[in-house]
């Protein structure tokens, strides 16, 4: 119970500080919109092109956005050494990870849901027919990006070449998530959309494995 209540308190803090500073959301939304708009004007894709390449492009944009969003996740705690204050205040540091993970997932999902209509208009791909299923895929994919990214952000925040380290570690580790998310999204953008439970199951397994690892070893990631 203490874990959940501490997570809720910390999630409230994450949301409040972000909506006050709007640092992450503004940067990410602008970045992701720029990518999608630029690609649409550069390639001028047909509907069939969009259905083939659109999901990959979308998830690539989400990946870059995630690496941008995840970088400051633990770095911000170092500015005033607030991470030490959190560690002194709570018994189970997993709550810190859970709150950051939940906040990152929400921010990413918010960005993705904002982007879907833009993508639909610019690439002539209808998304309304399978919108709830798309949101489910985006949620599972975002969770995968966030679980891995939050853990790696904690590691890289204490390293010397931290700006370089996070993308270096993140990109190869997230390849399976990207493949699964892209395949699941592609299946929902065709004229007869279908939910690919096999890829969703894979995403769920990935999320569970990394979440368990974070729960087991998270404390060590925060140590000096």
């Amino acid at each position: 119970m203490a874990l959940l209540s501490n997570t809720a308190v910390l999630l409230g803090k994450e949301l409040r500080t972000e909506f006050r500073s709007r640092e992450l959301l503004t940067t990410t939304v602008v970045f992701i919109l720029t990518i999608v708009v630029l690609f649409s004007f550069t390639f001028d894709p047909s509907v069939s092109d969009s259905r083939r390449f659109g999901p990959g492009l979308l998830w690539l944009a989400f990946l870059f956005a995630a690496s941008l969003m995840l970088q400051p996740c633990f770095l911000r705690e170092q500015n005033n050494d607030t991470l030490s204050a959190l560690r002194l205040s709570i018994g189970d540091p997993f709550a810190i990870f859970l709150a950051k993970l939940a906040a990152n997932t929400l921010f990413l999902l918010f960005t993705q849901v904002l982007l879907l209509p833009v993508f639909s208009i610019l690439y002539n791909v209808p998304v309304l027919a399978a919108f709830p299923q798309l949101v489910l895929v985006m949620f599972m994919g975002s969770l995968g990006l966030s679980v891995t990214g939050t853990a790696l952000s904690a590691i890289s925040a204490q390293a010397r070449m931290r700006e370089l380290l996070l993308p270096l570690l993140l990109l190869p580790l997230l390849t399976p998530v990207l493949i699964a998310s892209t395949e699941a999204t592609a299946a929902l953008l065709v004229p007869n959309p279908a939910v690919r439970w096999d890829w969703l199951g894979f995403l769920l397994a990935f999320d569970v494995v990394f979440l368990t690892a974070l729960w087991l070893f998270g404390e060590y990631l925060l140590e000096e």
Binding site: L10, K13, R16, N80, S84, L88, S89
Partner: protein, 234 residues
Amino acid sequence: MTTASFTPTGIRLENLDKRYGGLYALRRVSLEMSAGECVVFAGRNGSGKTTLLRIAARLARPSSGAVSFLSGSGEKNEAPPPTGFVAHATMVYDELTAEENLLLFARLQGIAEPAARADMLLREVGLEERRNSLVRTFSRGMRQRVAIARALLNEPAVVLLDEPTTGLDPQGASWFAQTLRRLRDSGRTVLMSLHSESEVSTLATRAIRLDAGAVVADTRTGANFRSILAFANA
């Protein structure tokens, strides 16, 4: 200070070593601080003061050796005591107000009535009129007041202060000295590190000098109080 509801606690450090790679930050430090003592650690930059305090706060793990906490009668406590930690960094969020910061940490610490506790501490540190201002709009002295209020939320038996007066103007340092006096007189065990001799250092009941991670002088073993602090000034 608020009415004491803490258990007096001493600290024992046994053969503490802390290495970062091949570099020793602490080297065979063995000390015992009795409950209610107010100890000042002096020494140059890199002498190990901050590392020692962070290990005592359980924020860092020693490479070898042990930290234990003692009851008033000198017996080892199994559970670590509530600890308050104030560092040069404020350890509060700039994007939250003073009150929101205190409520956040009070809730995380499971304090029964967080709003009442935050309210009382804001009055004690003289920030009740700025309670709804964002911390980023505060001066260094005001930020330090929030930091002290945060450190005292859980009625700590042990208070650790890492160069708490750095960056404070004379008025701020004087306010801090009064706060420290009240902390000391309330019976809390206070460990602090200082760069130089000041109004604050004169409140200590014991001074220890660290050099290259080792204890080189201690008033308990006969060293002169003023010479320890004067050496740190040098």
